[in-house]
Protein backbone atom coordinates (compact mmCIF):
# COMPACT_ATOMS: atom_id res chain seq x y z
CA UNK A 1 0.00 0.00 0.00
CA UNK A 2 1.40 3.38 -1.08
CA UNK A 3 1.48 5.74 1.91
CA UNK A 4 -0.55 8.91 1.57
CA UNK A 5 1.38 10.54 4.35
CA UNK A 6 5.01 9.63 4.89
CA UNK A 7 6.89 11.13 7.82
CA UNK A 8 10.59 10.43 8.35
CA UNK A 9 12.82 11.54 11.20
CA UNK A 10 10.76 14.62 11.90
CA UNK A 11 12.43 17.14 14.21
CA UNK A 12 11.05 20.33 15.61
CA UNK A 13 12.69 22.89 17.87
CA UNK A 14 11.28 26.25 18.93
CA UNK A 15 13.51 29.13 20.01
CA UNK A 16 13.05 29.61 23.73
CA UNK A 17 14.93 32.77 24.64
CA UNK A 18 18.56 32.69 25.62
CA UNK A 19 20.78 31.78 28.52
CA UNK A 20 24.22 33.36 29.06
CA UNK A 21 24.09 34.91 25.59
CA UNK A 22 23.41 31.56 23.92
CA UNK A 23 20.07 30.95 22.19
CA UNK A 24 18.10 28.18 23.90
CA UNK A 25 16.05 25.71 21.88
CA UNK A 26 13.03 23.76 22.98
CA UNK A 27 13.19 20.41 21.19
CA UNK A 28 9.60 19.28 20.95
CA UNK A 29 9.84 16.50 18.36
CA UNK A 30 12.59 13.90 17.97
CA UNK A 31 12.98 11.74 14.90
CA UNK A 32 9.33 10.97 14.45
CA UNK A 33 8.52 8.52 11.66
CA UNK A 34 5.19 7.08 10.58
CA UNK A 35 2.99 6.45 7.53
CA UNK A 36 -0.71 6.84 6.95
CA UNK A 37 -2.24 4.86 4.10
CA UNK A 38 -5.20 5.81 1.92
CA UNK A 39 -8.46 5.24 3.77
CA UNK A 40 -6.61 4.72 7.03
CA UNK A 41 -6.86 6.44 10.39
CA UNK A 42 -3.81 6.79 12.59
CA UNK A 43 -4.69 7.65 16.18
CA UNK A 44 -2.16 9.80 18.02
CA UNK A 45 -2.41 9.75 21.78
CA UNK A 46 -0.07 10.64 24.57
CA UNK A 47 1.20 13.02 27.13
CA UNK A 48 0.01 16.58 27.19
CA UNK A 49 2.75 18.73 25.62
CA UNK A 50 4.38 15.75 23.89
CA UNK A 51 4.07 17.35 20.44
CA UNK A 52 0.84 15.93 19.00
CA UNK A 53 -0.62 19.24 17.87
CA UNK A 54 2.76 20.37 16.56
CA UNK A 55 2.93 17.19 14.46
CA UNK A 56 -0.57 17.90 13.15
CA UNK A 57 0.34 21.48 12.25
CA UNK A 58 3.43 20.32 10.39
CA UNK A 59 1.42 17.78 8.38
CA UNK A 60 -0.94 20.43 7.05
CA UNK A 61 1.90 22.84 6.30
CA UNK A 62 1.20 25.38 9.04
CA UNK A 63 4.52 24.86 10.80
CA UNK A 64 7.82 24.21 9.06
CA UNK A 65 9.82 21.49 10.78
CA UNK A 66 13.47 22.02 11.64
CA UNK A 67 14.45 18.58 10.39
CA UNK A 68 13.29 15.41 8.66
CA UNK A 69 10.91 14.98 5.76
CA UNK A 70 7.17 14.90 5.17
CA UNK A 71 5.63 13.62 1.96
CA UNK A 72 1.94 14.14 1.22
CA UNK A 73 0.36 12.42 -1.76
CA UNK A 74 3.88 11.63 -2.96
CA UNK A 75 5.08 15.27 -2.86
CA UNK A 76 7.62 16.50 -0.38
CA UNK A 77 6.39 19.45 1.67
CA UNK A 78 9.74 19.83 3.37
CA UNK A 79 12.89 21.23 1.80
CA UNK A 80 13.24 23.42 -1.30
CA UNK A 81 9.98 22.59 -3.12
CA UNK A 82 7.86 23.24 0.00
CA UNK A 83 5.79 26.18 -1.24
CA UNK A 84 4.94 24.73 -4.62
CA UNK A 85 4.08 21.32 -3.13
CA UNK A 86 1.87 22.84 -0.47
CA UNK A 87 0.02 24.90 -3.06
CA UNK A 88 -0.51 21.75 -5.11
CA UNK A 89 -1.90 19.65 -2.25
CA UNK A 90 -3.72 22.38 -0.29
CA UNK A 91 -7.21 21.58 -1.57
CA UNK A 92 -6.86 17.92 -0.55
CA UNK A 93 -5.88 18.73 3.04
CA UNK A 94 -7.96 19.93 5.94
CA UNK A 95 -7.72 20.24 9.69
CA UNK A 96 -9.89 20.54 12.75
CA UNK A 97 -8.00 22.25 15.50
CA UNK A 98 -8.00 21.76 19.22
CA UNK A 99 -9.33 25.18 20.16
CA UNK A 100 -12.57 25.84 18.27
CA UNK A 101 -12.75 29.35 19.61
CA UNK A 102 -9.43 30.35 18.15
CA UNK A 103 -10.31 28.61 14.87
CA UNK A 104 -13.34 30.78 14.09
CA UNK A 105 -13.22 34.48 13.27
CA UNK A 106 -15.66 36.06 15.73
CA UNK A 107 -16.63 38.78 13.25
CA UNK A 108 -17.66 36.37 10.49
CA UNK A 109 -21.08 34.80 10.25
CA UNK A 110 -20.84 31.05 10.63
CA UNK A 111 -21.96 30.35 7.05
CA UNK A 112 -19.11 32.48 5.82
CA UNK A 113 -16.55 30.56 7.88
CA UNK A 114 -17.85 27.21 6.69
CA UNK A 115 -17.74 28.31 3.05
CA UNK A 116 -14.19 29.62 3.36
CA UNK A 117 -12.47 26.63 1.67
CA UNK A 118 -15.10 26.73 -1.11
CA UNK A 119 -14.58 30.45 -1.64
CA UNK A 120 -10.80 30.05 -1.76
CA UNK A 121 -11.09 27.26 -4.31
CA UNK A 122 -13.63 29.26 -6.34
CA UNK A 123 -15.18 26.10 -7.76
CA UNK A 124 -18.84 26.60 -6.81
CA UNK A 125 -21.58 28.95 -8.00
CA UNK A 126 -23.26 31.09 -5.35
CA UNK A 127 -26.27 28.74 -5.29
CA UNK A 128 -24.16 25.59 -5.01
CA UNK A 129 -22.09 27.18 -2.28
CA UNK A 130 -25.11 28.10 -0.15
CA UNK A 131 -26.69 24.71 -0.69
CA UNK A 132 -23.48 23.04 0.35
CA UNK A 133 -23.30 25.12 3.54
CA UNK A 134 -26.83 24.08 4.50
CA UNK A 135 -26.05 20.46 3.70
CA UNK A 136 -22.92 20.59 5.88
CA UNK A 137 -24.81 22.14 8.81
CA UNK A 138 -27.32 19.32 8.59
CA UNK A 139 -24.52 16.76 8.44
CA UNK A 140 -23.01 17.93 11.75
CA UNK A 141 -26.41 18.31 13.42
CA UNK A 142 -26.75 22.09 13.59
CA UNK A 143 -29.89 24.08 12.79
CA UNK A 144 -29.92 25.27 9.17
CA UNK A 145 -30.34 28.90 10.15
CA UNK A 146 -27.01 28.74 12.02
CA UNK A 147 -25.33 30.12 8.90
CA UNK A 148 -26.51 33.64 9.67
CA UNK A 149 -25.36 33.65 13.29
CA UNK A 150 -22.05 34.59 14.90
CA UNK A 151 -19.74 32.19 16.76
CA UNK A 152 -20.42 33.70 20.20
CA UNK A 153 -24.03 32.59 19.93
CA UNK A 154 -22.94 28.94 20.03
CA UNK A 155 -21.84 26.63 22.81
CA UNK A 156 -18.36 25.08 22.84
CA UNK A 157 -19.52 21.85 21.23
CA UNK A 158 -21.58 23.65 18.61
CA UNK A 159 -18.54 25.71 17.58
CA UNK A 160 -16.53 22.53 17.30
CA UNK A 161 -19.12 21.15 14.88
CA UNK A 162 -18.90 24.33 12.80
CA UNK A 163 -15.16 23.75 12.46
CA UNK A 164 -15.80 20.12 11.43
CA UNK A 165 -18.34 21.27 8.82
CA UNK A 166 -15.74 23.65 7.38
CA UNK A 167 -13.12 20.93 7.20
CA UNK A 168 -15.47 18.69 5.21
CA UNK A 169 -16.65 21.45 2.85
CA UNK A 170 -14.43 20.48 -0.09
CA UNK A 171 -14.38 16.71 0.39
CA UNK A 172 -10.68 16.51 1.32
CA UNK A 173 -8.52 13.38 1.08
CA UNK A 174 -6.63 13.81 4.32
CA UNK A 175 -7.82 15.50 7.50
CA UNK A 176 -5.90 16.20 10.68
CA UNK A 177 -8.40 16.07 13.55
CA UNK A 178 -6.98 17.48 16.79
CA UNK A 179 -9.36 16.65 19.66
CA UNK A 180 -12.34 16.92 17.31
CA UNK A 181 -14.92 15.49 19.69
CA UNK A 182 -13.68 16.28 23.18
CA UNK A 183 -16.11 19.21 23.47
CA UNK A 184 -19.14 17.11 22.56
CA UNK A 185 -21.56 15.09 24.63
CA UNK A 186 -21.12 11.36 24.11
CA UNK A 187 -24.15 10.98 21.85
CA UNK A 188 -23.05 13.85 19.60
CA UNK A 189 -19.54 12.44 19.77
CA UNK A 190 -20.82 9.08 18.53
CA UNK A 191 -22.71 10.81 15.74
CA UNK A 192 -19.62 12.75 14.56
CA UNK A 193 -17.40 9.66 14.79
CA UNK A 194 -19.92 7.67 12.75
CA UNK A 195 -19.98 10.51 10.22
CA UNK A 196 -16.18 10.55 9.93
CA UNK A 197 -16.14 6.78 9.46
CA UNK A 198 -18.92 6.84 6.86
CA UNK A 199 -17.04 9.46 4.88
CA UNK A 200 -13.95 7.31 5.11
CA UNK A 201 -15.80 4.31 3.72
CA UNK A 202 -17.49 6.26 0.96
CA UNK A 203 -14.60 8.42 -0.15
CA UNK A 204 -11.48 6.71 1.15
CA UNK A 205 -10.53 9.60 3.42
CA UNK A 206 -7.48 9.32 5.68
CA UNK A 207 -7.23 10.85 9.13
CA UNK A 208 -4.64 11.70 11.68
CA UNK A 209 -6.82 11.58 14.77
CA UNK A 210 -5.35 13.21 17.88
CA UNK A 211 -7.22 12.65 21.15
CA UNK A 212 -6.79 12.04 24.84
CA UNK A 213 -9.85 9.82 25.08
CA UNK A 214 -8.53 6.32 24.52
CA UNK A 215 -11.97 4.80 24.05
CA UNK A 216 -12.73 7.30 21.30
CA UNK A 217 -9.44 6.54 19.58
CA UNK A 218 -10.18 2.85 19.79
CA UNK A 219 -13.48 3.45 18.01
CA UNK A 220 -11.94 5.33 15.06
CA UNK A 221 -8.30 4.45 14.50
CA UNK A 222 -7.06 1.26 12.87
CA UNK A 223 -3.56 2.03 14.11
CA UNK A 224 -2.43 3.96 17.17
CA UNK A 225 0.83 5.72 18.00
CA UNK A 226 1.59 6.75 21.58
CA UNK A 227 3.75 9.82 22.18
CA UNK A 228 5.75 10.82 25.20
CA UNK A 229 7.97 13.89 25.43
CA UNK A 230 8.42 14.38 21.69
CA UNK A 231 8.94 10.74 20.70
CA UNK A 232 6.78 7.82 19.67
CA UNK A 233 7.14 5.17 22.37
CA UNK A 234 4.78 2.60 20.91
CA UNK A 235 2.82 2.06 17.72
CA UNK A 236 0.58 -0.86 16.87
CA UNK A 237 -2.69 -1.97 15.37
CA UNK A 238 -5.48 -1.06 17.75
CA UNK A 239 -6.46 -4.60 18.68
CA UNK A 240 -2.92 -5.37 19.82
CA UNK A 241 -2.35 -2.05 21.54
CA UNK A 242 -5.48 -2.17 23.69
CA UNK A 243 -5.34 -5.87 24.47
CA UNK A 244 -1.60 -6.05 25.19
CA UNK A 245 0.03 -2.68 25.66
CA UNK A 246 3.82 -3.12 25.64
CA UNK A 247 5.22 0.21 26.79
CA UNK A 248 4.78 1.02 30.49
CA UNK A 249 3.49 4.48 29.56
CA UNK A 250 0.78 2.98 27.35
CA UNK A 251 -0.15 0.68 30.21
CA UNK A 252 -0.25 3.62 32.63
CA UNK A 253 -2.55 5.46 30.24
CA UNK A 254 -4.96 2.56 29.90
CA UNK A 255 -5.02 2.03 33.66
CA UNK A 256 -5.71 5.70 34.35
CA UNK A 257 -8.77 5.95 32.13
CA UNK A 258 -11.64 6.93 34.43
CA UNK A 259 -14.47 4.41 34.28
CA UNK A 260 -18.18 5.15 34.50
CA UNK A 261 -18.41 3.09 37.66
CA UNK A 262 -18.52 5.17 40.86
CA UNK A 263 -17.93 2.14 43.09
CA UNK A 264 -14.67 1.10 41.45
CA UNK A 265 -11.50 1.44 43.50
CA UNK A 266 -9.38 4.07 41.78
CA UNK A 267 -6.02 2.79 40.54
CA UNK A 268 -2.98 4.47 42.11
CA UNK A 269 -2.03 7.74 40.45
CA UNK A 270 1.17 7.50 38.39
CA UNK A 271 3.31 10.16 40.01
CA UNK A 272 6.86 11.16 39.23
CA UNK A 273 8.35 14.18 37.61
CA UNK A 274 6.93 15.17 34.22
CA UNK A 275 10.00 15.52 31.98
CA UNK A 276 11.29 18.93 30.97
CA UNK A 277 11.90 19.43 27.26
CA UNK A 278 14.65 21.96 27.96
CA UNK A 279 16.68 19.53 30.01
CA UNK A 280 15.18 16.14 29.15
CA UNK A 281 16.14 13.26 31.41
CA UNK A 282 19.00 11.09 30.13
CA UNK A 283 18.14 7.66 28.81
CA UNK A 284 14.47 6.81 28.49
CA UNK A 285 12.35 9.92 28.88
CA UNK A 286 9.71 8.02 30.78
CA UNK A 287 12.13 6.68 33.39
CA UNK A 288 11.24 9.39 35.94
CA UNK A 289 7.70 8.03 36.10
CA UNK A 290 8.15 4.39 35.15
CA UNK A 291 7.20 1.76 37.73
CA UNK A 292 9.63 -0.75 36.14
CA UNK A 293 12.69 1.48 35.83
CA UNK A 294 16.08 -0.31 35.64
CA UNK A 295 19.59 1.14 35.90
CA UNK A 296 20.01 1.03 32.17
CA UNK A 297 16.89 3.14 31.56
CA UNK A 298 18.58 6.10 33.24
CA UNK A 299 21.45 6.26 30.80
CA UNK A 300 20.62 4.48 27.56
CA UNK A 301 17.95 5.74 25.16
CA UNK A 302 15.70 2.86 24.09
CA UNK A 303 15.17 2.67 20.33
CA UNK A 304 11.81 2.19 18.69
CA UNK A 305 12.12 -1.31 17.30
CA UNK A 306 9.89 -3.93 15.81
CA UNK A 307 8.58 -6.29 18.49
CA UNK A 308 6.05 -8.09 16.29
CA UNK A 309 4.95 -7.63 12.70
CA UNK A 310 3.46 -4.13 12.36
CA UNK A 311 4.26 -3.33 15.96
CA UNK A 312 7.00 -1.12 17.39
CA UNK A 313 7.94 -0.26 20.94
CA UNK A 314 10.80 1.69 22.53
CA UNK A 315 11.48 0.05 25.87
CA UNK A 316 14.45 -1.80 27.39
CA UNK A 317 12.09 -4.20 29.14
CA UNK A 318 11.38 -5.80 25.79
CA UNK A 319 15.01 -6.38 24.92
CA UNK A 320 15.83 -10.01 24.53
CA UNK A 321 12.21 -10.91 25.11
CA UNK A 322 10.78 -13.01 22.32
CA UNK A 323 8.55 -10.90 20.05
CA UNK A 324 5.00 -10.92 21.44
Amino acid sequence: MEALVQVRDLDMAFPAGSARGQPVLLHVLHKLSFDIGPGETLGLVGESGSGKSTTGRILVGLTEPTGGSVKLFGRSITGPGRRASLAAVRARLQFVFQDPHAALDPRLRVGHSIAEPIDIAGTHSRRERNDRVRELLELVGLPRDSADRFPHEFSGGQRQRIVIARALALAPDFVVCDEPVSALDVSMQAQIINLLMDLQQRMGLSYLFIAHDLAVVRAVAQRVAVMYAGTIVESARREALYAQPQHPYTRALLDAVPRPDPGRARPPVVGGEVPSLLAPPAGCRFHTRCPHVMARCRSEVPLLRETAPGRQTACHLLDGAPPA
Binding site: E47, Q98, D99, L184, Q191, H212, L214, P262, R264, R289
Partner: protein, 328 residues
Protein backbone atom coordinates in the same frame (compact mmCIF):
# COMPACT_ATOMS: atom_id res chain seq x y z
CA UNK B 1 -26.61 17.80 55.16
CA UNK B 2 -24.91 21.12 55.90
CA UNK B 3 -26.49 24.39 54.81
CA UNK B 4 -25.79 24.95 51.13
CA UNK B 5 -22.91 27.18 50.14
CA UNK B 6 -24.63 28.23 46.94
CA UNK B 7 -28.22 27.77 46.03
CA UNK B 8 -29.67 28.16 42.55
CA UNK B 9 -33.38 28.70 42.49
CA UNK B 10 -35.32 28.78 39.21
CA UNK B 11 -32.39 30.39 37.37
CA UNK B 12 -33.45 31.41 33.88
CA UNK B 13 -31.19 33.05 31.31
CA UNK B 14 -32.22 34.66 28.04
CA UNK B 15 -30.15 36.10 25.19
CA UNK B 16 -31.04 38.75 22.68
CA UNK B 17 -30.59 37.50 19.12
CA UNK B 18 -31.79 38.60 15.68
CA UNK B 19 -34.94 36.63 16.44
CA UNK B 20 -35.69 38.34 19.73
CA UNK B 21 -35.05 36.99 23.25
CA UNK B 22 -34.30 33.26 23.37
CA UNK B 23 -34.25 31.19 26.52
CA UNK B 24 -31.00 29.27 26.94
CA UNK B 25 -31.54 28.11 30.52
CA UNK B 26 -35.02 27.53 31.82
CA UNK B 27 -35.66 27.32 35.55
CA UNK B 28 -32.61 25.53 36.95
CA UNK B 29 -32.59 24.80 40.70
CA UNK B 30 -29.96 23.01 42.76
CA UNK B 31 -27.75 23.50 45.84
CA UNK B 32 -24.06 22.99 46.33
CA UNK B 33 -22.89 22.28 49.87
CA UNK B 34 -19.41 22.93 51.21
CA UNK B 35 -16.89 20.26 50.07
CA UNK B 36 -19.53 18.78 47.79
CA UNK B 37 -18.98 18.11 44.12
CA UNK B 38 -21.91 18.50 41.80
CA UNK B 39 -21.25 17.08 38.36
CA UNK B 40 -23.10 18.53 35.40
CA UNK B 41 -23.48 16.53 32.21
CA UNK B 42 -25.71 16.86 29.23
CA UNK B 43 -26.20 17.58 25.63
CA UNK B 44 -23.91 20.05 23.91
CA UNK B 45 -25.78 23.37 23.88
CA UNK B 46 -28.08 22.41 26.77
CA UNK B 47 -27.03 25.36 28.92
CA UNK B 48 -24.30 23.97 31.18
CA UNK B 49 -21.83 26.80 30.60
CA UNK B 50 -24.55 29.45 30.61
CA UNK B 51 -25.74 28.16 34.01
CA UNK B 52 -22.16 28.21 35.33
CA UNK B 53 -21.59 31.75 34.10
CA UNK B 54 -24.70 32.95 35.90
CA UNK B 55 -23.07 32.13 39.25
CA UNK B 56 -20.58 34.87 38.49
CA UNK B 57 -22.88 36.92 36.29
CA UNK B 58 -20.39 36.84 33.47
CA UNK B 59 -22.75 36.93 30.50
CA UNK B 60 -22.39 39.81 28.07
CA UNK B 61 -24.22 42.85 29.48
CA UNK B 62 -27.08 44.22 27.45
CA UNK B 63 -27.64 41.08 25.39
CA UNK B 64 -28.55 38.83 28.32
CA UNK B 65 -31.13 38.93 31.09
CA UNK B 66 -32.48 36.89 33.99
CA UNK B 67 -36.27 37.08 33.87
CA UNK B 68 -36.62 34.92 36.97
CA UNK B 69 -34.64 33.16 39.63
CA UNK B 70 -31.94 33.69 42.22
CA UNK B 71 -28.43 32.53 42.99
CA UNK B 72 -28.02 32.77 46.75
CA UNK B 73 -24.51 33.00 48.14
CA UNK B 74 -23.48 34.44 51.52
CA UNK B 75 -26.84 36.09 52.12
CA UNK B 76 -26.89 37.81 48.73
CA UNK B 77 -28.57 37.18 45.39
CA UNK B 78 -25.73 37.15 42.88
CA UNK B 79 -28.09 37.85 40.00
CA UNK B 80 -28.96 41.26 41.44
CA UNK B 81 -25.97 42.08 43.68
CA UNK B 82 -24.05 45.27 42.88
CA UNK B 83 -21.19 44.80 40.40
CA UNK B 84 -18.76 46.00 43.10
CA UNK B 85 -19.66 43.02 45.33
CA UNK B 86 -19.35 40.58 42.46
CA UNK B 87 -15.86 41.80 41.66
CA UNK B 88 -14.86 40.90 45.19
CA UNK B 89 -16.48 37.47 45.00
CA UNK B 90 -15.10 36.52 41.58
CA UNK B 91 -11.75 34.80 41.82
CA UNK B 92 -11.71 34.98 45.62
CA UNK B 93 -14.84 33.14 46.81
CA UNK B 94 -15.99 31.64 43.54
CA UNK B 95 -13.46 30.89 40.83
CA UNK B 96 -13.97 29.46 37.40
CA UNK B 97 -12.00 27.38 34.94
CA UNK B 98 -13.45 28.33 31.57
CA UNK B 99 -14.22 25.82 28.87
CA UNK B 100 -12.17 27.64 26.29
CA UNK B 101 -8.70 28.35 27.72
CA UNK B 102 -7.37 30.27 24.74
CA UNK B 103 -10.18 32.80 24.73
CA UNK B 104 -10.05 33.36 28.47
CA UNK B 105 -6.30 33.76 28.73
CA UNK B 106 -5.03 37.15 27.64
CA UNK B 107 -2.71 36.62 24.65
CA UNK B 108 -0.53 39.66 25.35
CA UNK B 109 0.16 38.86 29.00
CA UNK B 110 2.58 36.23 30.27
CA UNK B 111 1.43 33.37 32.47
CA UNK B 112 3.07 35.14 35.41
CA UNK B 113 1.12 38.36 34.78
CA UNK B 114 -2.16 36.48 34.63
CA UNK B 115 -1.69 34.43 37.77
CA UNK B 116 -0.24 37.41 39.69
CA UNK B 117 -3.19 39.59 38.79
CA UNK B 118 -5.60 37.62 40.98
CA UNK B 119 -3.06 37.19 43.77
CA UNK B 120 -2.27 40.89 43.92
CA UNK B 121 -5.91 41.94 43.68
CA UNK B 122 -7.34 39.59 46.28
CA UNK B 123 -4.40 38.84 48.54
CA UNK B 124 -2.46 42.09 48.16
CA UNK B 125 0.81 40.27 47.42
CA UNK B 126 3.75 42.29 46.12
CA UNK B 127 5.21 41.58 42.69
CA UNK B 128 8.03 39.29 43.78
CA UNK B 129 5.91 37.24 46.17
CA UNK B 130 3.17 36.87 43.59
CA UNK B 131 5.74 35.60 41.09
CA UNK B 132 7.08 33.01 43.54
CA UNK B 133 3.56 31.90 44.30
CA UNK B 134 2.75 31.68 40.56
CA UNK B 135 5.68 29.31 40.05
CA UNK B 136 4.52 27.18 42.99
CA UNK B 137 1.06 27.00 41.49
CA UNK B 138 2.40 25.90 38.09
CA UNK B 139 4.37 23.20 39.87
CA UNK B 140 1.25 22.14 41.68
CA UNK B 141 -0.66 21.67 38.40
CA UNK B 142 2.28 19.59 37.10
CA UNK B 143 3.67 21.93 34.46
CA UNK B 144 7.32 21.01 33.90
CA UNK B 145 9.97 23.79 33.96
CA UNK B 146 7.56 25.97 35.94
CA UNK B 147 10.21 28.61 36.70
CA UNK B 148 10.70 29.21 33.00
CA UNK B 149 7.19 28.54 31.74
CA UNK B 150 5.93 31.30 34.00
CA UNK B 151 7.30 33.85 31.51
CA UNK B 152 5.72 32.24 28.44
CA UNK B 153 2.84 33.75 26.52
CA UNK B 154 -0.24 31.53 26.06
CA UNK B 155 0.39 30.79 22.36
CA UNK B 156 3.62 29.02 23.27
CA UNK B 157 1.83 26.51 25.50
CA UNK B 158 0.20 23.25 24.47
CA UNK B 159 -3.58 22.86 24.89
CA UNK B 160 -3.19 20.95 28.14
CA UNK B 161 -0.71 23.44 29.58
CA UNK B 162 -3.19 26.26 28.95
CA UNK B 163 -5.84 24.30 30.77
CA UNK B 164 -3.53 23.80 33.71
CA UNK B 165 -2.69 27.51 33.78
CA UNK B 166 -6.44 28.20 34.01
CA UNK B 167 -6.68 25.77 36.90
CA UNK B 168 -3.69 27.41 38.62
CA UNK B 169 -5.37 30.84 38.33
CA UNK B 170 -8.65 29.46 39.63
CA UNK B 171 -7.20 27.81 42.74
CA UNK B 172 -4.71 30.65 43.42
CA UNK B 173 -6.91 32.28 46.06
CA UNK B 174 -8.25 29.06 47.53
CA UNK B 175 -11.87 29.69 46.56
CA UNK B 176 -14.84 28.28 48.46
CA UNK B 177 -16.44 27.18 45.19
CA UNK B 178 -14.59 26.12 42.08
CA UNK B 179 -16.58 26.02 38.87
CA UNK B 180 -14.69 23.83 36.43
CA UNK B 181 -16.08 23.76 32.89
CA UNK B 182 -14.46 20.85 31.03
CA UNK B 183 -11.19 21.43 32.92
CA UNK B 184 -9.29 18.34 31.77
CA UNK B 185 -10.25 17.73 28.12
CA UNK B 186 -6.74 18.53 26.89
CA UNK B 187 -4.86 16.45 29.46
CA UNK B 188 -3.65 12.92 29.12
CA UNK B 189 -5.35 10.62 31.59
CA UNK B 190 -2.31 10.22 33.85
CA UNK B 191 -2.06 14.00 34.32
CA UNK B 192 -5.84 14.24 34.55
CA UNK B 193 -5.72 11.78 37.45
CA UNK B 194 -3.11 13.96 39.19
CA UNK B 195 -5.18 17.12 38.71
CA UNK B 196 -8.32 15.45 40.03
CA UNK B 197 -6.28 14.22 43.00
CA UNK B 198 -5.14 17.80 43.63
CA UNK B 199 -8.73 19.04 43.53
CA UNK B 200 -9.73 16.25 45.93
CA UNK B 201 -7.06 17.45 48.35
CA UNK B 202 -8.33 21.02 48.12
CA UNK B 203 -11.82 19.75 48.87
CA UNK B 204 -10.66 17.92 51.97
CA UNK B 205 -8.27 20.58 53.21
CA UNK B 206 -10.19 23.75 52.43
CA UNK B 207 -13.71 22.42 52.20
CA UNK B 208 -13.75 23.74 48.65
CA UNK B 209 -16.92 22.83 46.77
CA UNK B 210 -16.78 22.01 43.07
CA UNK B 211 -19.23 22.32 40.22
CA UNK B 212 -17.74 20.07 37.57
CA UNK B 213 -19.06 20.26 34.02
CA UNK B 214 -17.88 17.41 31.85
CA UNK B 215 -18.84 15.24 28.93
CA UNK B 216 -16.59 12.52 30.30
CA UNK B 217 -18.89 10.26 32.25
CA UNK B 218 -15.87 8.42 33.66
CA UNK B 219 -14.54 11.63 35.22
CA UNK B 220 -17.98 12.43 36.62
CA UNK B 221 -18.34 8.93 38.07
CA UNK B 222 -14.97 9.16 39.81
CA UNK B 223 -15.22 12.72 41.10
CA UNK B 224 -18.79 13.88 41.65
CA UNK B 225 -21.04 13.17 44.64
CA UNK B 226 -24.14 14.15 42.80
CA UNK B 227 -24.94 14.55 39.12
CA UNK B 228 -27.25 16.86 37.24
CA UNK B 229 -28.21 15.93 33.70
CA UNK B 230 -29.29 18.75 31.40
CA UNK B 231 -31.22 18.66 28.16
CA UNK B 232 -32.41 21.66 26.14
CA UNK B 233 -32.03 24.22 28.92
CA UNK B 234 -33.55 22.13 31.70
CA UNK B 235 -32.51 19.65 34.35
CA UNK B 236 -33.92 16.27 33.33
CA UNK B 237 -32.34 14.16 36.05
CA UNK B 238 -30.65 14.89 39.38
CA UNK B 239 -29.28 12.03 41.46
CA UNK B 240 -26.51 10.83 43.77
CA UNK B 241 -23.67 9.56 41.62
CA UNK B 242 -24.15 5.86 42.48
CA UNK B 243 -27.85 5.94 41.73
CA UNK B 244 -27.33 7.73 38.44
CA UNK B 245 -24.83 5.22 37.11
CA UNK B 246 -26.52 2.18 38.63
CA UNK B 247 -30.01 3.03 37.47
CA UNK B 248 -30.36 6.03 35.20
CA UNK B 249 -34.05 6.84 34.93
CA UNK B 250 -34.46 9.49 32.26
CA UNK B 251 -34.46 8.10 28.71
CA UNK B 252 -31.97 10.82 27.69
CA UNK B 253 -29.55 9.73 30.43
CA UNK B 254 -29.97 6.12 29.31
CA UNK B 255 -29.16 7.22 25.76
CA UNK B 256 -25.99 8.95 26.94
CA UNK B 257 -24.79 5.89 28.80
CA UNK B 258 -25.44 3.74 25.74
CA UNK B 259 -23.42 6.11 23.52
CA UNK B 260 -20.19 5.76 25.47
CA UNK B 261 -17.39 4.12 23.50
CA UNK B 262 -15.84 1.18 25.35
CA UNK B 263 -12.23 0.31 26.14
CA UNK B 264 -12.77 -3.41 25.75
CA UNK B 265 -15.00 -5.81 23.85
CA UNK B 266 -15.77 -5.89 20.14
CA UNK B 267 -15.39 -2.78 18.03
CA UNK B 268 -18.78 -1.88 16.65
CA UNK B 269 -20.49 1.16 15.25
CA UNK B 270 -21.30 3.51 18.11
CA UNK B 271 -24.82 4.05 19.27
CA UNK B 272 -26.09 7.64 19.00
CA UNK B 273 -29.44 8.92 20.23
CA UNK B 274 -31.59 9.19 17.10
CA UNK B 275 -33.05 12.48 15.97
CA UNK B 276 -31.76 15.96 16.45
CA UNK B 277 -31.47 18.46 19.24
CA UNK B 278 -34.27 21.04 19.17
CA UNK B 279 -33.41 24.63 18.22
CA UNK B 280 -33.51 27.00 21.17
CA UNK B 281 -36.87 28.47 20.16
CA UNK B 282 -38.44 25.49 18.54
CA UNK B 283 -41.96 25.13 19.85
CA UNK B 284 -42.25 21.61 21.26
CA UNK B 285 -45.38 20.73 23.11
CA UNK B 286 -44.81 18.60 26.19
CA UNK B 287 -41.44 17.01 26.87
CA UNK B 288 -38.50 18.57 24.97
CA UNK B 289 -36.89 15.16 24.59
CA UNK B 290 -40.18 13.62 23.45
CA UNK B 291 -39.54 13.68 19.68
CA UNK B 292 -36.35 11.61 20.19
CA UNK B 293 -37.64 9.32 22.92
CA UNK B 294 -38.23 5.61 22.39
CA UNK B 295 -40.59 5.45 25.34
CA UNK B 296 -42.72 8.50 24.56
CA UNK B 297 -46.43 8.16 25.23
CA UNK B 298 -49.41 10.36 24.40
CA UNK B 299 -49.02 12.33 27.64
CA UNK B 300 -45.44 13.27 26.76
CA UNK B 301 -46.65 15.28 23.75
CA UNK B 302 -49.10 17.40 25.68
CA UNK B 303 -47.89 18.06 29.21
CA UNK B 304 -44.54 19.56 30.19
CA UNK B 305 -43.16 17.04 32.69
CA UNK B 306 -42.06 18.21 36.11
CA UNK B 307 -38.87 17.28 37.91
CA UNK B 308 -40.16 14.85 40.53
CA UNK B 309 -38.50 12.67 43.15
CA UNK B 310 -38.72 8.94 42.52
CA UNK B 311 -36.54 7.71 45.34
CA UNK B 312 -34.70 9.63 48.03
CA UNK B 313 -32.75 12.37 46.36
CA UNK B 314 -33.20 11.00 42.86
CA UNK B 315 -35.33 13.32 40.72
CA UNK B 316 -36.46 12.84 37.12
CA UNK B 317 -38.35 14.96 34.62
CA UNK B 318 -40.29 12.25 32.81
CA UNK B 319 -44.03 11.67 33.05
CA UNK B 320 -44.07 7.88 32.45
CA UNK B 321 -41.13 7.24 34.76
CA UNK B 322 -42.56 9.26 37.64
CA UNK B 323 -46.12 8.08 37.31
CA UNK B 324 -45.77 5.12 39.66
CA UNK B 325 -44.52 7.22 42.53
CA UNK B 326 -46.44 10.35 41.55
CA UNK B 327 -43.48 12.19 42.96
CA UNK B 328 -42.54 11.35 46.52
Amino acid sequence: MAAPLVSLDDVTVQFRTDRGWTTAVDGISFDIAERDCVGVVGESGSGKSVTALSLLRLHARGTSRFPRGQVRFGGQDLLTAPERDLRRIRGRDIAMVFQDPMSSLNPVLTVCDQISETLRLHQGLDRATARRRAIELLDLVRIPDAARRVDDYPHRLSGGMRQRVMIAIAIACRPRLLIADEPTTALDVTIQAQILELLRELRTELGMAVMLISHDLGVIAEFADRVIVMYAGRVVEDAPVDALFRSPRHPYTEGLMASMPALEGGITRLYAIPGRIPDPDEAIAGCRFGPRCRHAEAICRVAVPELLAIEGRHRVRCAPRTRATGGL
